[in-house]
């Protein structure tokens, strides 16, 4: 092609179609999420008819948080091709960060209340000593560890929700991507990171109460008089809002030029590098942003769950996350949401004793025993026969239309 072709005709302008027009699934998703939120609110005990128990509202709110981390996982794995087996660690870190404030602030209120009844008001030192003894008595210590110094400050701990997972992901990702660790090696490395973190948290002397974890997180300081039925709906709203915002953010991130680059990295990393892109920078950005979103999801999840302990961060949890995304369908955001919601709800239904046991005459299938077998084998089947997951079904629906 010669360069002196007269450019009298303007090149066709890039189609200026709107972001939403390009991504019809975003509108659909937002609409469904909105309808779902309103429906749950109307049916809840706290704000409406009381057809849904507070417990169920909590489970649904927690499921929304799991959906949020699932779309983060989908972006990092389904779009960018990094099979991270460590994102649940970021989720847990977010939970720990907010849990420290919840536990500290609530204990402080209780302690001030009981010490205030004495003839002489307590000094600040006495209060913080009593709080430390209350929180850490269970691990045989009565001193407040250094990392709890600002645990009484909500803004600080909220910043930690974002910063701790973000910085950890940044450092880890920088180390890993810079030495070109890819594929299964990277997966194992992220799994090792998760293992190290959970082993670290399991120790009593690391200042996070060892395997006791943090508990009583469902009580929100400042709102101790608000009944759980109302609190649960508030958290449900917050979870729904964050899921919607996260979906929007990721849909925008993956739809533009940036999205094309990270998909190209997934498909052939070397070729993208030869084209002059800074592959490591892109990967690091995706890894870190998804880690931060995971942390936020965790910070919303654990106040609804009420307790967090190091077992939540064990490597297995991150693998389940991959399972959800794979079953839901990789490389499409709604697939991750479907997978996370479907598998986690089915799991709590089957293991929570909700499902009827099946009597085969010679053997009685107790779902609590057989659910994991079913999940494992179902997962193998999905990997083998439906690599696109449940989300793949939508392709057929869409394709039928002209």
């Amino acid at each position: 092609m010669s360069l002196d072709i007269p450019r009298n005709t303007a090149a066709p302008a890039p189609s200026r179609r709107s972001f939403l027009h390009e991504n019809p699934s975003v509108l659909w998703f937002m609409g469904l999420l909105g309808v779902f939120t309103v429906a749950v609110t109307v049916l809840s005990e706290g704000f409406g008819l009381g057809l849904i128990s507070t417990n169920l509202v909590k489970v649904l709110g927690m499921t929304l948080c799991l959906c949020l981390i699932a779309i983060a996982m989908d972006v990092v794995w389904g779009y960018c091709g990094i099979l991270s087996l460590g994102h649940f660690a970021f989720f847990g870190l977010g939970g720990y960060a907010i849990g420290m404030w919840l536990m500290y602030a609530r204990t402080e209120i209780v302690i001030r209340d009981s010490l205030g009844r004495g003839t002489i008001p307590p000094t600040e030192l006495e209060v913080s000593e009593a709080v430390a003894a209350q929180i850490f008595g269970v691990v045989g210590s009565s001193e407040l560890p250094l990392i709890w110094t600002f645990a009484g400050s909500l803004p600080f701990q909220l910043a930690m929700v974002v910063l701790v997972p973000g910085v950890l992901a940044l450092v880890f990702g920088w180390l890993a991507f810079r030495s070109r660790v890819t594929g299964v090696y990277l997966s194992i490395l992220t799994q090792a990171m998760t293992l190290a973190l959970s082993l670290y948290l399991f120790q009593n002397d690391t200042g996070l109460r060892g395997n006791n974890g943090l508990s009583g997180l469902q009580n929100i300081p400042g709102f101790l008089h608000v009944p759980q039925s109302v609190l649960s709906v508030w958290f449900f709203w917050a979870s729904a809002f964050m899921l919607g915002a996260g979906y929007l953010l990721f849909a925008w991130v993956v739809s533009g030029k940036f999205g094309s680059v990270i998909r190209a990295i997934r498909d052939n990393e070397a070729r993208v590098r030869f084209l002059g892109y800074n592959v490591e920078g892109y990967k690091l950005f995706v890894f870190t942003v998804t880690a931060v979103i995971s942390g936020i999801a965790g910070a919303l999840y654990y106040p609804q769950a009420g307790i967090i302990n190091p077992a939540e961060i064990a490597p297995i949890a991150s693998i389940y996350l991959a399972v959800w995304v794979a079953i839901g369908g990789r490389g499409r955001l709604y697939g991750a949401v479907i997978g996370a919601a479907f598998v986690s709800l089915l799991s709590s239904w089957l293991t929570g004793g909700g499902a009827p046991n099946i009597d085969l005459g010679f053997y009685r299938i107790v779902w609590t025993d057989w659910w994991l077998v079913l999940l494992g084998l179902g997962f193998v089947a999905v990997t083998l026969f439906f690599p696109k997951g449940i989300g793949g079904l939508f392709d057929y629906l869409v394709r039928k239309k002209p």
């Binding site: 090792a192 057989w370 999940l375 193998v380 990997t383």
Partner: protein, 654 residues
Amino acid sequence: MLRLFPLVALTLALAITLPLRAQTDSLTPLQDALQSVQEHVASPSRATVPAVLRALLDADAPGTVDFLRAWGDREVYERAEDGLFFYALEAPDRMLALIDIDSGAEAGAVSTRAVNQIRPNAGVRREIGAALVSFELMHPEASRRLAALDNIARSPDAEQIEALTLARDAEDDSRIAARMDRLLDLLNARFATDTDVRVDAIDGLRGDISTEARRVLNQILQTRAEFAPEIPEGTNVARIRAPGSDIELIAAYATLAEAGLVPARPGRNAIRDALRRNVVDGAVGGIPVHQLTSDEMRRAAYAALEAQGSVAPLVTEDDMRAAVREVVFFDAYLEPDPAVTDAARDALDSTRTRISLWQFVSISLDALSLASIFFLAAIGLAITFGVMRVINMAHGEFIMMGAYTGYVVQTVIPNYTTSLIVALPLAFAVTFAAGVAMERLVIRHLYTRPLETLLATFGISIALQQLAKNIFGTQARPLTAPDWLAGAIQVNDVVSVASIRVAIFVMAIGFLAMLLYILNRTRLGLEVRAVTQNPGMAASMGINPDRINMLTFGLGSGIAGVAGVSIGLVAQVTSEMGANYIVQSFMTVVVGGVGSVFGTLAGATLIGFLQKGIEWFNPANTLAAQTFMVLFIILFIQFRPKGIVALKGRAAGD
């Protein structure tokens, strides 16, 4: 001790002459001898014990030792009607079955009221014990003499020195004599009256790493914290403690207060309590209660109270300094003689170097044992991951399957040795079959998608784990090692290795040799290496890559099964045991270098030594060791992404 001497000499004479003297003709020589000193036996006192012993010595009856022991243990009874002595057994209906002390035959049952139990007091029992010790020390049977020495070592006491010295002179067996010499050193070091003897004995213990020697030296070096206006004459001072640096000022002052020399310092809590007691109209010392929210305000209020004279005075830091300046705080040895403590400290210091050397050996052996477990767990993975580039997350479950196979075999075959011999090949067969089935059904379809192999095998892993839980329950099942593997090889008091760990090490070496043989010397190995390097070319040379892949996977899984049996012998068999090893196994393979048997060996060794090394610095916390190890591995991969043994050229693949 001198008082004891005739007694000891007596019993020694008894012991030495025992084999030489003829038995008396009487049928009841022991009873006769006892009857001659009936009163002394029935109501013994320390003064009369020698008389009894002399009588026994003269009679020289068999069963004398047993009688002495029973006498001391309050197991001898006197029949009230005729004053004869018996042993007794409990019989029903509050009766005692009497036993003749000469023949050991039953002598009829009597009511407990018809006999008197003879109860020697503690002093008498000690004399009897001393007599017994020297008697045992001269016993013709070497095993009895050794047992007596062990007894002395267990409860050493000053009075044994004499008996031991005499026995040492009469000892012929060089092994026992050496042991006696050492015991003498131990006893002399602690109990001898003469300083030179003690120092000599302590020097004899120099470099002795046994716990008993160290215990003796540490006992000599025991200290007590003391204080005085100035150090009293003749005190054996271990060290002087300066308040503020070696001992905290507050603690030093508290010590003085405890001794009643200075008024106690009111602490924060005492101040608070005093204020609480003195609240008048909502104020303390003129300060309203609601302002007392800081330590300064509280102290001010307290000072006001002090001015009124209603509370004990505050003690300032200057007061405390002045008070402690009046006295010296120091640690004094309980042992008054400085020559002895100096010698003991010297001896202990020289021992310490040797102990750390031996500890290093011990840690290395532990690390070696851990490394062989890691190697066994990881080598199967190295084959499947390294040769086929297939990540098998269910590898841990194959380990678990092997261990449960061992458990099932053990329930069928009760003999542990036989069942172990049966279990090893059976575990290999079971997991080989499972591996081949998995390869045929699942992995074969995913060779082009390695990340999905990881996920699919993970699905299999959770299904298998839950299946095991359904079949065997969540309870841990024991896999018992045969008796000949149960003990430990005791090198010395610092180093000992469990036999089972040695067996596992040997097994790991065996597997290494077998694998090297298979890969380098057999047709199968040749084909495996060909497929590894270039599957297409191998296929065109007439090798069937499908078959090779299947067999390789089966081999890797089979080894996992055998590893499972051996790991089950040292750890509990649970459905989760595989999951505990899987991440470490991957690390071993990745650190060592994918695709190389020697790499896995190097990786396992590195990780084993690393973990034990970190544990050495922080022995209380194995979790911390694991955490740091994982961090180290993450960093290690930064610098050697392809592991210790990196394949070069085309075989390295990507």
